[in-house]
């Protein structure tokens, strides 16, 4: 295993807002590396710095031994970048767009036509090649965008939220395709705020929260490290905090319960980390019953990446997402995205 990408102590501020506080990542060649985190965690900014669209305020980025700061053009040659919002020219046909892309990457002229035919076939776009992009569906556009990213046979494919806004079917196609690319030896870096996506695809994952890496390992390892099972319960559909705290104290006294966290984002539900034992649910139920506490819902599960996130930040990914929406200023972000 060789290191494909090494990011050390990356920092990036937009005026007052610190988008990336301190991010260090080691990405091995030939793997799918997932960067997971809620909106506003700094995923896109990290990728934009990696793709030389932005200059970091501090830190280093090396792509296959080439510094993104001192030799951005060398890095650009190695990377294929598929941005979050598909930016295509609706007045061009798919083939014309790829021809433009080929010229921007200086593909030798004789190889351009066969290579374009190849990627078109690869992504099932052949019959659409000579139609205007304006007539494409969302899924087709994403596939064309992928084709453009792959055209110059980059060593590393970088995808920002590759399946956001796609229907389930297109999403499965993209997943399938990314797995196939990895099989052929390509290194893939993707960001996502979908747990399932990272869980299903990534060999290694880094979880980002508010501009820092809070965990980085294989998804399996991260989940195993947490250990035990998860129990989520609600006393009522919306539980008063006093009542939730009462249950929390009660359940914490049980020797096989490791932790009890109240989740205000879900109507003060309780998230328990417990020893994996078959009678856990029954015991929880009877304990609450004896104390005269109600029980609305109760569920047991193996730890997920969401639990990894929860353990590190005290809130679920979904809650972080919702909270982030309130904090965000879409107009300011659009400006940031445009500024380089």
């Amino acid at each position: 295993m060789t290191t494909a990408i090494s990011i050390q102590n990356l920092q990036k501020r937009y005026g007052e807002v610190t988008a990336v506080k301190n991010v260090s990542l080691e990405i091995q060649s030939g793997e799918i590396f997932g960067i997971l985190g809620p909106n506003g965690a700094g995923k896109t900014t990290t990728l934009r710095c990696l793709c030389t669209l932005m200059q970091p305020d501090a830190g280093t980025i090396e792509v296959m031994g080439i510094s993104a700061l001192s030799n951005p053009r060398g890095v650009r040659q190695k990377l294929g970048y598929v941005a979050q919002e598909v930016a295509l020219d609706k007045l061009l046909t798919g083939r014309e767009l790829l021809e433009l892309q080929a010229a921007l990457y200086h593909l030798p002229r004789p190889s351009i036509t066969p290579r374009i035919d190849e990627v078109l076939a690869l992504l099932g776009l052949t019959e659409w090649a000579d139609r205007l992009i304006g007539s494409y569906s969302g899924g087709l556009k994403k596939r064309l965008d992928l084709a453009a990213g792959l055209l110059h046979q980059p060593d590393i494919l970088v995808l920002d939220e590759p399946t956001v806004g796609l229907d389930i079917e297109s999403r499965t196609v993209v997943w399938q395709f990314l797995r196939q690319l990895r099989q052929q030896g390509m290194t893939i870096v993707l960001t996502s705020h979908y747990l399932e996506e990272v869980d299903a695809l990534a060999d290694h994952v880094a979880i980002l929260d508010r501009g820092t890496v809070i965990a980085a390992d294989t998804p399996t390892h991260l989940k195993h490290q947490l250990g035990g099972d998860r129990i989520t319960l609600k006393l009522r559909e919306f539980t008063a905090i006093e009542e939730a705290e009462q249950a929390q104290q009660l359940l914490t006294t049980l020797p096989w319960v490791h932790s009890v966290v109240i989740n205000p984002g879900q109507g003060n539900s309780l998230n328990l980390v417990v020893d994996a034992r078959p009678d856990a649910l029954n015991l929880v139920q009877s304990t609450l019953h004896q104390a005269g506490l109600p029980l609305f819902s109760l569920a047991q599960s193996k730890p997920s990446l969401d639990d990894v996130y929860l353990a590190a930040t005290g809130q679920t990914l979904m809650d972080a997402e919702l909270a982030a929406i309130g904090r965000r200023d879409p107009k300011a972000e659009r400006k940031q995205a445009m500024r380089r």
Binding site: R48, L53, P72, R73, L91, A103, H106, V119, M338
Partner: protein, 291 residues
Amino acid sequence: MSQSVFSPATPVNPSQPTLPPANLLDFGQETFALTRRLFIQLKRRPSTLVAGVVQPLMWLILFGALFQNAPQDFLGNSLAYGQFLGAGVIVFTAFSGALNSGLPVMFDREFGFLNRLLVAPLASRFSIVAASALFIMTMSLVQTVAIIVVSGLLGTGFPTLSGLGLMFLILAFLVIAVTALSLGLAFTLPGHIELIAVLLVVNLPLLFASTALAPLSFMPTWLQVVAAANPLSYAIEPIRHLYLYPHWHWSDIVLQAPWGNVSLLGCIGGLLGFALLSLLSIQPLLKRSLG
């Protein structure tokens, strides 16, 4: 989906030399491709071309009519206003086209398409400027021919072939300079609303503060100073001269600025300087976005 996407990975050696230095061929390839995109857009959306040809002809006819009965000594040397106006309209048309060339780039930036260019290993980002300038030059060529033909039919006469060639050179310098500045704005301003505001503020005042519509001698002194410093005048006066004098010389005086006479060659040199200065001034912007 079974072909190989990815040629079997060449062993990666971190110390391997990175890229061969960017060469002129790469620059040519990317510039050609970017220019081609603009022409495909024009082909599929020809209204810009139609409007671009019709508008200067309307300037020519309407402004020509407006000042038709102006006092005879208005133009100093006894020529009809129609003859006088042609050069102004030619230059103003090329200027407007170049000035607006930043708009599509701004939209590319807003839609994220520009990022596609910025993450690519371009030999030089000046290819983005070059593509826009080439496109506008071609547009201006078509517009200029239309203007020359129509004003010829209106009785203005035609320039000589060598005069015509020199006209295009003058326009090329002006287009390069103004395109560079417009793209500089497109890279700097926050959005297209701001860009349009700036273009509106700049466009017509620069026309009126030039020798396009009236000669220097007709203006109050302060405006003479402004008009003689206006780059548009350095394109208008030579073209007007080439129009009127089939037997032109490089040393012919074409612009009588308050601070001295400027020859044909001087005007062209001034425009070349303007173009180089503009390109130089936007270089840090292109570099800055180098990320």
